[in-house]
């Protein structure tokens, strides 16, 4: 990282990268990497919504007194979709009220959205690692 660039703490980079895919890299000054990863992840997520409709993002219902883990296990694909950030949260808020798609279309659309989220999780881990390395380099010099 060039000297003089703003040093951003790794947890903040991770949160920003989760909210907006690729934005963590932009904070670190890696514009090409951030745009490539962000646009690709968002395209995959939006393609999933187009293929199957927004109902494919269907968050589990958490009921007070019931086991949270069991609720998650009933709709495990939402774990992947959750990691796609703000777009996943908004889709999860809108989705359950929309008509559901079925069969292979719903499966493929769920796969697209969940894979987009899991790819964003990899990007979150990578850019927060890069941010922590940059912090350590800054301390060492």
């Amino acid at each position: 990282m060039p000297s003089g660039r703003l040093k951003v703490p790794a947890p903040i980079v991770a949160v920003i990268s989760w909210l907006v895919p690729g934005a963590g890299y932009l904070l670190l000054g890696q514009v090409a990497r951030g745009l490539t990863i962000g646009i690709t992840i968002l395209l995959l997520f939006v393609a999933g919504l187009l293929i199957g409709g927004v109902h494919v993002v269907d968050p589990p219902t958490f009921i007070r007194g019931h086991n949270v883990f069991n609720a998650l296990l009933q709709k495990p694909w939402y774990i992947g979709q959750f990691f796609s950030g703000a777009v996943g949260l908004i889709s999860g808020w809108i989705g359950p009220s929309q008509p559901a798609s079925h069969a292979r279309v719903a499966d493929i659309a769920t796969l697209y959205t969940a894979v987009a989220g899991m790819l964003n999780l990899m990007a979150i881990i990578d850019c927060s690692y890069r941010a922590s390395v940059a912090e350590d380099d800054g301390k060492g010099t």
Binding site: T40, I51, G53, I108, Y112, A123, D126
Partner: protein, 83 residues
């Protein structure tokens, strides 16, 4: 394109209903998914971004080749079991 499919497309509400007619071509939907995975994976792994197009193409073709080989293998197995 048949008239009924045209009617379906005209009546389609994006993001609410599935894309009309896409269910007939669902195996082809693996291609853009594999391309997306290859691009993001190699963008994370490559030290220099200029290496991404070549390396992502290689891993994309590897994934598609693996899927096709798996499909052919399973089809042959199914043929052997049925016959």
């Amino acid at each position: 394109m048949s008239g009924s499919l045209v009617n379906l497309i005209v009546a389609w509400t994006p993001f609410v209903q599935p894309i009309p007619g896409i269910w007939n071509y669902w195996p082809w939907l693996m291609v853009p998914l594999c391309a997306g995975v290859a691009i993001v994976w190699k963008s994370i792994k490559c030290h220099e971004m200029k290496r991404v197009p070549l390396e992502a193409t290689v891993i994309f073709l590897t994934m598609i080749g693996g899927l096709v080989a798996s499909a052919v293998g399973l089809w042959l197995l199914e043929r052997m079991v049925v016959n």
